[in-house]
């Protein structure tokens, strides 16, 4: 299979692959290895005064993120891109682009959209976990 330049770049670099540890890390995973696609994200919320405010969930920022993926090159590339993009951004439980836009960005065939939905599910789960920690005042030291 031919892959786009962007897909190859993120797949080959594997940038952002790994795990985060510590109390301020929200983790979310989706899919299964047995099913052929599994993705996990770790999101750590940066220490921020805004975290103490009533609108903490919307204003907390992502201090670091990592991913693990047992998946095809397109899925790994999308997860790596997402992790790279996210640092410093507000932590909200949403993708920065729709699944279709990400598919277009990486030239992912339509048959593989289901795998991007697994990326989305894992990202949303990690985001919700991070926001929940942040709401309790737990952030990266």
């Amino acid at each position: 299979m031919r892959y786009s330049e962007l897909t190859r770049r993120y797949f080959e670099s594997g940038i952002g692959a790994g795990v985060l540890t510590g109390p301020a890390v929200g983790r979310g995973a989706a899919g299964s290895r047995a099913g052929g696609t599994w993705v996990q994200f770790d999101i750590a919320i940066a220490c921020d005064i805004a975290a103490a405010t009533a609108t903490a969930a919307r204003e907390t920022r992502i201090g670091a993120a990592r991913f693990l993926a047992f998946a095809c090159p397109h899925t790994i590339a999308a997860a790596a891109w997402l992790v790279e993009w996210s640092v410093g951004k507000s932590c909200i439980a949403a993708l920065p682009e729709s699944v279709h836009e990400i598919a277009e960005r990486f030239e992912i065939p339509i048959e593989k959209l289901g795998r991007l939905l697994i990326v989305e599910d894992a990202w949303l789960a990690a985001g919700r976990a991070a926001i929940s920690l942040s709401a309790r005042g737990i952030t990266m030291s």
Partner: protein, 414 residues
């Protein structure tokens, strides 16, 4: 915090020239035409050469072409233990398989409509069988053992009074397992009503073949797997055993009226020359067989240390040119993508679509879906070297460890 796969990690193959072609490990898919073969073929193309129609024997040009075709027929026959009269030229093994399967089925349709084959056959056998099923024939697909061999007792149990054809391949294209086709042919002959067809597309130059001695009725051959041209093949139709086929195409009556159409002189001359050269390498004790077996074991020894690696096919059952390995804890498409800039290999996934299906051959051997997908077939040939193998070990090792790390299945990739 730990980074599983650093972007600055050293990539394998840095010492190879930038833009170098991937090292070729896909000789089971096709081989380059031997330069000597190409020279013989070129002599049959232009005005100064043997360009005549081999069917036009009323003049010298046609007669010369006819003689070249017949010389090639003798070369092919000699390489596989057949009589020259057995050789029917085709465009390749796929056409030969179709001619054998449809030819027997149609010719024998009033006697019976049952065919037996194996689940691990090439699509060029399975698809004609499925088409016959759609037309009302009954087909039994036998499962091989976990080692890939067909148990003769299973074949014996499957034979019925209305069985007209048994089709079993000699050397499996994915795992390299050699079937005991002589033993199976004996069993079929004893049964009495069925013909035995063998797809031997992968066999020439890799292991000995004795068409007549094995008592086989029909055998498909391919030129391009043995350093000959693509678009050339043959079906051996045993004249001595009185095999009759219904032709699939008409017009001209060439090739005993079994395959009408002008014979492509340059193609069959190339096939004959390629087979004559390859036949010397077929014996297990030949220098080339021993060299390739050593390369195969060198590669396996280098790969097995990665752990969770599974060899598909027992080496004692297989041709020396091929190693098929399944990798645990690695996703198949990513594995291929991670090595394909450096290595030209085949995968356990049929990548005819973006969602590749796991290999049906490996699934039939009992490999689970993930392992069947995460498999690489590396096949060697005349131009393979120990340095190539060492590079492959490095590339595959790096890829597997990196992907396992990204998948959270080992501590570090680097």
């Amino acid at each position: 915090m730990s980074d599983a796969a650093r972007p600055d990690a050293a990539r394998p193959g840095a010492a190879r020239p930038f833009g170098a072609r991937p090292i070729y490990f896909d000789y089971a898919a096709t081989t380059p035409v031997d330069a000597r073969v190409a020279a013989y073929m070129a002599e049959c193309l232009t005005r100064d050469g043997t360009f005549g129609n081999p069917g036009s024997r009323s003049h010298a040009e046609g007669e010369r072409a006819h003689e070249a075709v017949e010389a090639a027929r003798r070369q092919v026959a000699a390489a596989v233990g057949a009589a020259p009269a057995d050789v029917v030229w085709t465009s390749g093994a796929t056409e030969a398989n179709n001619l054998a399967i449809f030819g027997v089925a149609l010719q024998a349709r009033t006697r019976g409509r049952h065919i037996i084959t194996c689940k691990t056959e090439h699509k060029a056998v399975l698809d004609p069988c499925r088409e016959l099923e759609r037309r009302g024939w009954s087909v039994t697909y036998l499962a091989p053992s976990a080692r890939g061999r067909l148990d003769p007792a299973r074949l014996a149990a499957a034979l019925r009074p209305d069985t007209v054809l048994v089709s079993v391949m000699h050397v499996n294209n994915e795992i390299g397992v050699i079937q005991d086709v002589a033993g199976l042919a004996t069993l079929v002959a004893r049964h009495g009503t069925a013909r035995m067809h063998v797809d031997a597309a992968q066999s020439v130059g890799k292991c000995p073949i004795d068409f007549a001695g094995a008592g086989i009725d029909l055998m498909s051959l391919s030129a391009h797997k043995a350093y000959g041209p693509k678009g050339a093949g043959a079906l051996l139709v045993s004249a001595a055993r009185g095999v009759e086929l219904e032709p699939l195409q008409y017009g001209g009556g060439q090739e005993r009226s079994l395959r009408s159409g002008t014979v492509a002189t340059h193609q069959v001359v190339g096939m004959g020359a390629a087979f004559a050269l390859a036949a010397a390498d077929a014996a297990p004790e030949s220098a080339e067989s021993l060299r390739l077996a050593a390369l195969r074991e060198r590669l396996w020894d280098g790969i097995r240390v990665l752990g969770a690696t599974f060899r598909n096919g027992e080496p004692s059952d297989c041709v020396p040119q091929l190693l098929n390995v399944s990798f645990g804890d690695v996703e198949g498409e990513s594995l291929l993508a991670a090595v394909q800039d450096e290595l030209a290999v085949s995968t356990g996934s049929a990548c005819t679509s973006s969602l590749g299906e796991p290999s049906y051959v490996l699934r039939a051997l009992g490999r689970d879906e993930r392992l069947a997908e995460a498999s690489l077939r590396l096949s060697f040939g005349r131009f393979s070297t120990a340095a190539d193998v060492d590079h492959a070990i490095m590339v595959i090792g790096h890829a597997v460890l990196r992907l396992r790390s990204i998948g959270g299945l080992c501590a570090t990739a680097n």
